[in-house]
Symmetry: C2
Amino acid sequence: MTTMLDVTDVTAGVCCTPLVREPLSAEEADQLANTMKALADPTRLRLLSIVAASEDSEACVCDLIEPVGLSQPTVSHHLKILTTAGFLTRSKRGTWAYFTLVPGALDRVSQLLVGS
Amino acid sequence: MTTMLDVTDVTAGVCCTPLVREPLSAEEADQLANTMKALADPTRLRLLSIVAASEDSEACVCDLIEPVGLSQPTVSHHLKILTTAGFLTRSKRGTWAYFTLVPGALDRVSQLLVGS
DNA sequence: CCCATCTATCGACACCTGTCAATATCGACT
DNA sequence: AGTCGATATTGACAGGTGTCGATAGATGGG
């Protein structure tokens, strides 16, 4: 993955550049596009929704493999992309890696798309 | 482009499947991912923002080539993707093709991302 | 009728991306 | 230490995607 997202994309940079107010600069467009790319995959959307619907909005990799029906490396790969993009946080407890939704991350992206 | 978006994606199908309420089915995830893919490109984001910021929220292809700095076929290509995805409408007047934002299209996507 | 202009399509190419098998790494428990 | 289970990384490969040049359609003007 050459252009991996910076963690600050969602939490800082992208949060202040509305889409339909004025023409986006090339840099702003790149940032927002990177954020959207993390959401532009069916597996990653399912992972997000499954994590969100889990107990305490938290799930380990082992819980996610069977629901999406893909290999463990592939699931880990997607989780890394979502984490790097700022949508998930990873906390390791014992051998397990638990992933949680970053509060407000999706909401910030949402607000960029609406005119407001 | 093998998996081109149906125009109904944004206006009908995707509009009722919140992301963080319950696990998305494979079909719902595919639909939403297709919609997000249309927004996951910097050039397309810039095109949307330029159209939105134009007079009467309307612009022809010739107005868009210079701002994004890409070839005319490439711009036409991106406009087609945005149109097929339901974010733009195309109306031809004379030799020119004018593109306009579809009202509410971005808002519907926005509402899918927020917890509501 | 022919030409100039705007737009769309086609063919080709480099690059990115999602996927898996194999392997490495890390942590807990004997 | 040694082993086992969970996760991450690597390498490889097929398929998708953005881009351009060339070309084809369409539309209005001389």
